[in-house]
Structures are given as structure tokens and as C-alpha cells.
Symmetry: none
Subunit: 246 residues, 2 copies
């Protein structure tokens, strides 16, 4: 079963949604047959490469959001993140454009396609953690090389791919695909190209979606006595239902 | 998903469009569920069976196009074709009517309908390459038999079908269908009888059209918490969108 997840890096609900989905997946009986594919999405392509102020300053000064409302939202999201075991530190966040981070993610996906395992997930996790928990600049080449090599990528390959823009088209293709699907916010989960889940839903909902998609792809094969097909009793054996016992 | 493509043989943009569409298709996640059907179109039914001059002479003498403008157009198209890995050689092109070539294509389609795979695509590819890259006369019976047998058709069947005009009506039906659709130039692509793409568009546009048509035929079933449906919060979980994080 395939699960395609569109998400950004500078997206507090994307990290929380990742944890909640992971919780559901870890309890899913067929988890070994689930392939998760991370896709790029940019909430704010206009973000500067570098911005010297804080996230609060960026949102209030550049985006015109009232500072007290932003502070209140940070406090609430920090609490929800803490409930998922994440240590958000909005005060230390470095405002940065996520384009290069997404290109690094696609380099990791290319490694996984060649036979490596879990590289893309490790990079996605590292980017989110660096941004929200460790005040790292995810637009910085040095940070990207460090996170990428920790996930098993080669430093020379990272630099070459980012310099050449090797995965720029792949990032753009993901965003186009999101538009075709009608995605207007992230995180957004698509199960087996059929079921959609929008947002950082509770683990129970992800579990339900996994079960539904699995059952659809693997319907029960009913075993019935062949002779019964022509009997008046039909294909079902004697059973009790809401209307009584047949 | 069905993709119907109207195109001619003596049509430089048809070969370029074929490559660009193929590039998009190769990167399309659901490519295994896409059926491509080639349809006939004749840009110039008045073309002679045989013409002894060059393509440039034909266009300038018979069609009255200024020779220098034709030469300039050839140079430009040759460059665009080269960008797609095609080696156009306008100097060697043999001017010929494409009617018999289209009948060969329909014989190949009939083989595919009987269970063969890829015969029509192989014939279409061979006709375009023979005409634009190898200076072959696509009106010549000998050339058509050679291209057809290389694509897996039987020489005797080819000769019999062309002698009897077995597929003349099929070619005419394709052209009538194109007129009914309102096609005024080729290549022309129709996805799932619903989305049209005119001309040799960039692969990104074909990719977008494939995504859109696929998603329309396979809409996402949104999985949402039942209780939330009546809440003010609506069906979505916490997510970040262009206007911030809810």
C-alpha cells in the first residue's frame, strides 16, 4: 500500500502530523507492506533565503499578523507538539526558504529509489527537527550538508546536486501534483491514490484510513459451499443479524 | 485512462510532441494504467504519391512559401527536435502522401486489438523516424513493408491490406472524428475524452494534464472524523495553508 504525504518544512502541523501518522502506522498490522513517499510543498515560496528577525517578527511585520495573536498561536502549537513528544522552540526558529531543503529531500528519495532504505524519511525528520527544535537555518548549505550526511548521503553529492539544481524540477513536479489533486494546505496524506486525509488528524483517524484503504485493496474472499449457489438459502450459512436469526 | 492522439506523419511537431508526451508519461505514477491510441490525420491530403523535388522545393514551388522563410523554419525545427534527441534531416526528406502509412498504422492497431502489444506505437515511431531522420519514402510499398515487418507485422498481410484498402475507411473515420472534435492542427491529444492538449506542448503541461484527468477519474475519498463533520471546525485537521496555520 502506498501513502503519499505532501508537506513543507516550515510547517508546524507537518511535524505533528508526521508523529500522529507514525503512531497509527506503528499499530497497523500490515505496516511492513506500507510504502511512505514524502512529497514537497511550499506554503510560502516568497520566503527570503535569509531573514535576520525572529519568526514572530516575520509573521507580524512581513505578513501583518497581530503579534499577540502569533505569540498565542505559538504557545498553543508548542503545547500540542509537546503532547506528541516534540520540543518546539519558536523563539529560536530561523526564518528560511525551504526550497533547498526540499531538493535535499529529493536527493534522498533518489537514493532510496536506488535501493537505500529510509533515507528520505531520515532527511525529512532531520529537517523538521532542525527547524522547530534546534533553531537551525534550513536554508544554510552547511546545515543541509550536515543533516544529509547524517542521513547517509554523500557530502560531495549534496553540494553538487544543490549547486546544479538537479532536483529543482522534481520539487516543482510535486507541487504541481498537489495542485492537480486540489491540495490547499499541508500536511496532506493520500492513501493508495484514493483516500485523502487533510491535516494533522488524530492517530485514530489515520488508523481508520489505513484500514479502509487496505481492505479496499485486499477485499475478503468469501468461502461458500458451491452447491448452495442454486439453493433457496443462497450463499450465506445460517446466521443471526439485526433482524433476527435466519 | 485513455489518451487519444491525432497526428500525421509528415508533421515535424508530431514527432517532437510524441517525445514530449512520452517524457511526461514516463514520469507519471499511473503510467501502467494509461492506454495510448494513435489516430490518423492528414495535414495535406493533396500531397502527390511521389514528388521528385526536395521538401523545400515542394513548399516553395507548390505551396508558394518564400524559400528563405522555409529554410529558416527548417533550421529552427531541427534545433528543437535535436533538444528532444531527434535528428531531423530536412535536406533528405522524401515528399510523399501519408495515406498508405496511415493504413499501415491501422493494420498495426488491429493487431494490438487482437492482443499484440505496442505494435501501433512501434509503427508510428518507425514512420516518423523514417520520414524525418532517414530520408525514406513513406509512400513506397517496399518501405512500408520493411517498417511494418520490423514492428512485428506480416509482410503478406501488409501487402494484402494496402492492396485491398482494408483500412481506408478507418483512416477516414479518424479524420472525420478529428473534424467533429474541432481539431484544426496536429498533434492533438485527448485525455479520457475530456481534456484536450493542442500541439507539442512542454512535458510539464502533459504531466499536468495527465494528473488532472487522472484525479478527475479517481477523485480522492476524504477520510474525516465523523463527529467533526458537524463541528465548526469542519472536516480538516489542523493544517497550514497559504494564509497561515489553522
Amino acid at each position: 500500500m502506498n501513502v503519499d504525504i505532501w508537506s513543507d518544512i516550515a510547517c508546524p502541523w507537518c511535524f505533528i502530523g508526521k508523529r500522529r501518522f507514525e503512531k497509527a502506522l506503528s499499530g497497523f498490522p500490515h505496516r511492513d507492506q506500507v510504502t511512505v513517499t514524502w512529497h514537497s510543498y511550499q506554503l510560502d515560496p516568497s520566503l527570503p533565503e535569509h531573514y535576520d528577525g525572529t519568526e514572530l517578527e516575520y509573521l507580524s511585520e512581513r505578513k501583518g499578523m497581530p503579534a499577540d495573536r502569533v505569540a498565542q498561536m505559538f504557545a498553543q502549537v508548542t503545547q500540542v507538539a509537546a503532547d506528541e513528544g516534540l520540543h518546539y522552540d519558536f523563539g529560536s526558529i530561523v526564518v528560511a526558504n525551504s526550497q533547498s531543503g526540499h531538493e535535499l529531500l529529493h536527493l534522498a528519495k533518489a537514493k532510496d529509489a536506488e535501493g537505500a532504505r529510509g533515507t528520505a524519511d531520515a532527511v525529512k525528520e532531520a529537517l523538521l527537527s532542525a527547524h522547530f527544535e534546534h533553531g537551525e537555518d534550513i536554508g544554510s548549505r552547511e546545515v543541509l550538508v550536515r543533516l544529509g550526511t547524517a542521513a547517509g548521503l554523500d557530502a560531495g553529492e549534496i553540494t553538487a546536486a544543490l549547486d546544479a539544481g538537479t532536483y529543482r524540477d522534481s520539487v516543482a513536479a510535486d507541487i504541481r501534483q498537489a495542485q492537480a489533486i486540489g491540495i490547499q494546505g499541508v500536511p496532506f496524506f493520500v492513501l493508495d491514490s484514493k483516500y485523502g486525509v487533510s491535516g494533522a488528524q488524530p492517530p485514530e483517524l489515520f488508523a481508520q484510513a489505513l484500514e479502509t484503504a487496505w481492505r479496499e485493496a485486499n477485499p475478503l474472499v468469501m468461502v461458500s459451499p458451491a452447491a448452495a449457489a442454486t439453493d433457496d438459502e443462497g450463499l450465506d450459512g445460517a446466521a443471526c443479524g439485526p433482524d433476527g436469526c435466519a
